[in-house]
Symmetry: C2
Subunit: 363 residues, 2 copies
């Protein structure tokens, strides 16, 4: 990967990718759960096909636009998609949702009586084509209803002609050092309670969906029926720093060139990869804006749009100007939303290019 | 802007945009400086044309890819472009740079002897087509050389067949509350010193280029010859919180729908615009991940890929589910790198759509 590839370039190591896809599929199956990976991480048709081939029962998407891309019969042609988001439909988005449902079985999220009424009104007779899952807040405190609120929403869904198939949650509070176990516990507890209340009110619960990459292997196989992890396909610096992946299992890096270097007391280099390719996510627990896979002690301490400033501790030898290094971005899902294609590597050689088919599909 | 537009959508108010472009052009001209706006902020051909029409002497870009877009005779056809970046050329990027120089006068940045030698070797006889500006570090401590180092670089440039036309700096340490004045002072001091050293070594200095949006109106008209602000065309929450723009002068907002709402003790709403459209930049001085233009007391306190959590103080009335609000992103340059097009509004009505022609042009 010398001078042939321009920098910055996003590179996916396909052998590591395949290994990650197989490992999660095996682990989830061993736990008796269905796997419905979230494609917001990769947005790539070729990777979706690999996930389905490894036994995924369907895929998760975040938007109607992503559903359109992955249902497309000339692309991934996935026949079962869950939009894990409490949609607020307009006339035009409802029409797009109905059109997508001609190509795949589509379910979506709801988290309020108002949202259910809106969906019923916008979809009209077409409402009966869809199953909805009620989003439960298990502790992340973003969208989702308290478990006590599910029966009221289920009743409104029934009035609106929508079929409630179950409940889902995103235990996003797992993204903190040492928090995965308690988040997995909260996830199970919330889904159990919501399911019990629905069952008691006469609504059979077919799906109890949870999961994030940090909690995926900790999720309670009794409380859940399916998992929706996304990041596991690639891994990233967040998962590395949370102890949820090893550097050897990180499948995606950003190749960058050293364009500036200070070997004085500051001991820093500057790379030609900035926030416009790495993303700017920096959670409180992160040690920087990203890591270098071949220099585990270095830290990306500053990030501009086209510059990453990397500091080296002690007396480590700095890479020279013009050399290339591989950056592990903090949050890989935002990286794939920044580039139109990724280079595919096998044994260190570029063997293919994949299009990021759903890049920018925010609505 | 009711139900006709999907959310999230980036909307540019063209009257405010035109006002901002004229105000900066007038102020810079009054200060006796040339204006060379940085297009990394907007990446839009229509806006580049407005800047040139308002008297810009040329444009600034960050990458060869951006230069290709703005030099394109079938697009903006700008005839004078400065790549404000210390390029490290490969065989292929050198060939692209030479091709772009067939369509426009192109200058670029250097900040090291090694970089100059690399450029000379890669460009060969074509080196004489280009002027280079030496990047000086005026206190931002990213790329750029200490002013004392410019003569050595100029000598290497002469050996490499590259013509040194002057010096440039980015006083990026102006991005901090109350730091604009001292950053403008540092900018002037560094450029003055570098220019004096070059002149003493026999290198005439034609260009002394500086400027950032926070310092643009403070820059020393004696020390500088040109300014390269970018963000001023739109403004953003960073400029608002730095006291460098008023909400009434912010030309770009992201229209979003309220998809979830908690009217309990938490008093928060959740919007369908997340980091995949707003960007995730959050400098230390920022009060959140963005602001709502019509609710100046509200703060975006949490950001996921497709969710913004907005908290409201006191007993303010929360917008209802399904209603729409306008978000001011923290750092507007990253927003334009996330979307393929923007809606253009005049008097509250959508009147046009502009393509973000250089989106994703990272190399």
């Amino acid at each position: 990967m010398g001078d042939m590839v321009s920098t910055p370039t996003v590179i996916v190591d396909v052998d590591i990718l395949d290994r990650n896809i197989a490992a999660m599929a095996d682990a989830v199956q061993a736990n008796g759960l269905a796997l419905r990976p979230h494609i917001k991480t990769h947005k790539i048709v070729e990777i979706a096909r690999k996930q389905i081939a490894a036994g995924a029962t369907g895929l998760t998407v975040a938007t109607i636009g992503e559903a359109e891309v992955f249902a497309d019969p000339s692309g991934a042609a996935v026949d079962d998609l869950f939009i894990a988001y409490p949609l607020w439909l307009t006339r035009s988005s409802a029409a797009r949702l109905v059109a997508a449902s001609e190509q795949a079985r589509i379910s979506f999220g709801v988290d309020s009586v108002e949202g259910v009424r809106n969906a019923g009104a916008r979809l009209g007779d077409a409402a009966r084509r869809f199953e909805v899952l009620i989003e439960v807040d298990s502790g992340h405190h973003r969208s989702g209803v308290h478990p006590d609120g599910v029966t009221e929403i289920a009743a409104a869904a029934d009035d609106a002609g929508l079929h409630v198939a179950g409940v889902f949650t995103f235990p996003g509070h797992s993204y903190g050092v040492g928090q995965a176990d308690s988040a997995a516990h909260d996830e199970a507890k919330s889904l159990r309670k919501a399911s019990r209340l629905l069952a008691e009110s006469g609504v059979p619960v077919k799906v109890r969906s949870g999961g994030s990459t940090p909690t995926a292997l900790l999720s309670d196989g009794g409380a859940l029926t399916e998992l929706r992890p996304g990041v596991y396909v690639f891994g990233d610096a967040q998962q590395w720093e949370l102890g949820r992946t090893e550097p050897a299992d990180i499948a995606l890096t950003v190749l960058a060139t050293v364009i500036s270097r200070s070997d004085g007391p500051e001991r820093r280099i500057v790379l030609d990869a900035g926030s416009k390719v790495l993303g700017a996510d920096r959670p409180g627990y992160a040690s920087g804006f990203g890591r270098l896979i071949d220099y585990p002690d270095a830290r990306v301490t500053g990030l501009s749009e086209h510059h990453a400033t990397v500091e080296f501790p002690g007396d480590a030898k700095l890479p020279v100007r013009g050399s290339r290094v591989r950056v592990v971005p903090n949050h890989v899902c935002t990286v794939l939303n920044l580039v139109d294609e990724v280079a595919v590597a096998k044994g260190g050689l570029i063997v293919d290019v994949w299009r990021v088919a759903a890049r920018g599909r925010n609505n």
